[in-house]
């Protein structure tokens, strides 16, 4: 599980139903993506912080939603490159 902040709480997980090795986790430090079922992780480049949950459109895996702990929602339509506050 390399690439995730160590010994920190993992708050949420979203998995691509069409390719389950692609997954995202929501953490206080931000959003992280793996393309190898969680062996290695890369931080998704954005300003997202203090994340409580992440979800994916089951029919369109590029559409990702995250919620901050206070309920602020951000959406990406391009697999995490650009984000829009909802």
């Amino acid at each position: 599980m390399g690439g995730l902040p160590t010994n920190k709480t993992v708050n949420g997980l979203a998995v691509d139903p069409s390719n389950p090795k692609v997954m995202y986790v929501a953490m206080r430090d931000g959003l992280f993506k793996s393309t190898d079922a969680g062996e290695t992780w890369t931080r998704v480049e954005n300003e997202l912080k203090n994340l409580a949950a992440v979800s994916m459109n089951p029919k369109n895996p590029k559409e990702i939603y995250v919620s901050a702990a206070d309920g602020t929602i951000f959406m990406s339509a391009d697999a995490g490159k650009k984000w829009q506050k909802q």
């Binding site: 997980l13 979800s55 994916m56 929602i73 909802q86």
Partner: protein, 229 residues
């Protein structure tokens, strides 16, 4: 400044006005006010107890978010929070509270699991009242706790292949229970994966032993285990 919609007196004797277009939040003993644009109002407020004063009839207070999930028909986002279950049909811009239990209107909803094979079926897990399911997209709910060893649930996973359910409950220690009939009956499987489970998720990656993996978010990181036990 907007129209006054409420007024009151703080403990220190200060008169406060609640205006449209403002977000209020409590910080220690002080009450602070901050002007916000309508967009910011719709999107959310700083951390802390929050009152939405954007003029909506049903102000939304989450306190803290635990879960977010989209239904199988790509129409509804569900948000599990400390104050209950909410749904949004506009991508998370506005939220309506879902009535899950008339007896316990403010259940803490820690997990939301839409059944991707049966699009109207949704399962939720709560900290106080176990597991609920809805067969009509979230309008009517029933409690499904037969055989479950406790009502303090910390994670809920649905197998994307066969709809098998796993939950983790806290009852002295942590325990995982499984149901193969949509929550009609639960059986204990084993002890949980670790301290302070945040979520449980069935991930459709074959273990090579006839099952798939369960992933769990804990206070010390991400863990996974074959779900065949």
């Amino acid at each position: 400044m907007g129209k006054t919609i409420a007024e009151g007196i703080t403990k220190r004797g200060l008169k406060v006005l609640l205006l449209t277009g403002m977000i209020w939040f409590v910080s220690g003993a002080e009450i602070q006010a901050q002007e916000r644009s309508p967009l910011q109002l719709a999107a959310g407020a700083p951390a802390g107890h929050r009152i939405n004063t954007s003029g909506k009839k049903n102000p939304v207070t989450f306190e803290h978010v635990d879960a977010l999930a989209m239904d199988a028909e790509e129409q509804t986002l569900f948000l599990g929070t400390h104050t209950g279950l909410f749904r949004s049909n506009d991508g998370g811009r506005t939220w309506k509270k879902v009535s899950v239990s008339a007896k316990q209107p403010s259940l803490e909803v820690v997990a939301v699991a839409p059944d991707q094979k049966q699009p109207s079926t949704i399962y939720i897990a709560t900290r106080e009242a176990g597991v609920f399911t809805s067969a009509d997209g979230g309008t009517n709910w029933s409690q499904i706790n037969n055989g479950l060893g406790g009502l303090d649930v910390h994670g809920l996973a649905i197998d994307p292949n066969d709809g098998k359910l796993h939950v983790v409950i806290r009852n002295k220690g942590q325990e995982i229970y499984r149901s193969t009939n949509g929550g009609g009956k639960w059986s204990r499987v084993n002890g949980g994966p670790g301290p302070e489970i945040q979520f449980l998720s069935s991930v459709n990656i074959p273990t090579g032993m006839g099952g798939i993996f369960l992933y769990a978010g804990t206070a010390t990181g991400l863990q996974r285990s074959p779900d065949c036990f």
